[in-house]
Structures are given as structure tokens and as C-alpha cells.
Chain length 230, copies 2
Amino acid sequence: MPVVTEQDNRKAVVLLSGGLDSAVSLAKARHDGRQCFALTFRYGQRHAIEIEAASRVAKALAAHRHLVMDLDLRPIGGSSLLGQGEVPRGRDLDAKEIPSTYVPARNTIFLSLALGWAEVLGADEIWIGVNEVDTSGYPDTRPEFIAAFEETASLATRRAAEGHRIKIVAPLQGLDKTAIVRLGMRLGVDLSLTWSCYNPLPGPIPCRECDSCRLRARGFDGAGVRDPLI
Amino acid sequence: MPVVTEQDNRKAVVLLSGGLDSAVSLAKARHDGRQCFALTFRYGQRHAIEIEAASRVAKALAAHRHLVMDLDLRPIGGSSLLGQGEVPRGRDLDAKEIPSTYVPARNTIFLSLALGWAEVLGADEIWIGVNEVDTSGYPDTRPEFIAAFEETASLATRRAAEGHRIKIVAPLQGLDKTAIVRLGMRLGVDLSLTWSCYNPLPGPIPCRECDSCRLRARGFDGAGVRDPLI
């Protein structure tokens, strides 16, 4: 449980996959005194085990509520994370092409649903753990995408029409994985609760070969600490 | 079945609720030669009967495919259309307040999912039957919202990152209900296949008291034709 400054009690919807980044994002929101409404999707991801991690993290970080929504994206498809083809192993993390694990429009979809929930809750902030330094190059992690979505959100809802500005907070933007691991540790996040692997082996055990495992390892290696999951 | 000019065979995802407006939007897309991928949501709406109408319309207008996606928005709630409270009857249609039938962020959510499907299909157009003349004043029907979403979409996906501009087409924007009914008739749409009522009576029979029934009646009255559903 991180130190909570309780400087305010503004409500925030926090997207929470159960991975490292979203856990640190939630911890930062809690640290900054937000009342957090964590939102997780059961979207047909092959690593549905991350949903259990999200529940553990939401509880450990004292989210005010945790909602797991069902939204099966497999009828749309278009991603190895949705079961179409294999998750790449040992891929060049610095390659420019967008890998098959990209899920079409995922962040737009998740932010839209977060926006709906935010309106019902009376929240003006949505937090998302995107960063574009150590990622697989997904287009919907870029600052210009986040800014554009914020513009759209501020025109989309009754709450916006009533004059509320909706803010998309991306507290990890600009940080590399090492900085994210360090921030998580500084905020007191129990990183053993998180789950990153796209392609879990029985156990479950992280495969250590997918992008997500390797980016995570890069972060722990950089921070000079051992990943409690390994 | 409307006249199809087949001027091209561009793919388009067309949001299709099963109501009057979305049926005319689909007919226009077909008339303009698009290969149409109709998308409907089972989102927990009390008038789920509209989904059957959507299937009839998609078939009659020869949509290339029709996908009905499950996305239960009731855990988010915030709308009488999702079962919270009663659907207003006999409301002043020209009142400025946004009625309880407004579903938080619905068009943002639906457009986002359409964007994901469009990417998988290789489509650069999403059609939506919004209009802001004869409506209940929902904020996410306004041209500035549609324009903002188009900006976001054009930053959100791999396809956009590869240089494709995503276009949100709102062919009914600026039309009143009378003009929409006339356009539908000119395009040969069988309007008896559509369904508008938010609050169906057993039968099912349109209630003729909700906003959606009354806006529909305004359109048929204005066009001087009898609604085949009544």
C-alpha cells in the first residue's frame, strides 16, 4: 500500500490491465490522492490471467471500486493476443514494425468505456499507463493520440457539454521501463502481484520470450532489482 | 433494395441500430457503392427488439456482412435506456436538457469498436446515422464531436500510422426527420423493417410517446406519408 497524500479526493477512472505499467499508474493516482475506480476488461485476451492480477492490484492499492467488464473483441479479431496466430518470441524490440500483438483500436475502445463510466461517477479524469519509450510501438500509446482522445472526450458527453473538461492522465508517458519499475518501488507497489506475460506457460510461469516479458525484464535489469515473479 | 450505382467498391463499416436513421445511412452507403459491413450492439438496451430490425435491414439492403457484438453497458449504467428509471413520455422535444435516455459516451464507444473492425477489414470509412436537427440533444451527435473523433481515429490505429486517413461519414447530418424519411423512400428503403421505439408495448407495438416514436412521427407527418409500423 503506497503512501497516500490525500491532497484531494477527486474521482478518477484508472484503466488497469494487471500489468506493471497500469499498476504503477494506479499507485500514482492513489499517491496523488485520487479516489480510484479501476477498470479492467475481459476482452478475449489469451493471457486472461492478467485479470486476476488486476484484482489483486486493485485490492492492494485500495481502489475504491474495481469493475471487470466483459467485451469480447474476438469477433473483430486482428491480433495474436486474441488468438489469431502465435505471439512473437524473441522479436527485435527496437524494430519499427508494429507486432501482431497489437489489438486494433484497443486503447480507443478502453478509453471510451472509461469515459462512459467516468460520466456516471462524476469523474473528470481517466488514467492510463501508456508510455511510448519501452513499448511494442503501438500507435495508440503516443502522446498525440492521447491528446486527440482528450479533445474528443471533452465534446462527447453530457458532463462535457455542461462545461467539465475531461482529462486523460498518462503518468508514465516519457518514462522507460527502468524508470517505471523504480517509480513503482518508490510508491510501494508490490510488483509480485502484477502480470505481464502474453503467453503464459503452465504454472502459470512467464514465458520470458514475448515482448511484454522482455520489456519487463529490461525494466528490472535497469533498476538493478530482481523481478519477484521470476 | 435500393438502386446501387456501384461507382466503387470501397469498404465501409456502417453502424446500424435498426432504427430509421441508421437504416437510411446504410442505404445511402449502399447507394454510393460501398461494400457495407453493418455493426450492431447488444448493449443491454431495453428495446433489444431493435437488433432484430437491424438484421432485417442489413439483409434487405444487402450488407456484405452484419456483426452483432455483445457489450453489456449496464455495469456502467447511467441511462433509462439501460433500465435505470423510466423512459420519458410526452417530453418537450425542443427542451434544451439532455434526457435520461442519453447513454454515456455511447457513440464514442460504438465508433471505437467500429474503428477496430474497420482496421481488420481494411476499411477507411465508418458511417453513422447521427443528425442534430431532430434528435434528443445528445452531445455525441454534434458535427464537432464527429470531427474530433475522426482526428482521434486517424492517430489511433496501425492503418492510420501507415498513412490511411479514417473518415467518419455522417450522411444525415443537417437533415431533419422529414428529410430523412424522404431520403429513405427515395433510396427505396422498406421503412416497415425498422424499429425506433424505446419503450415497446407487448406485440410489439411502438408506444408513440417516447422521444424516438415522436421524432419518427414528426418525420412521417412532415413527409406526408403513413408510417408502415403504425
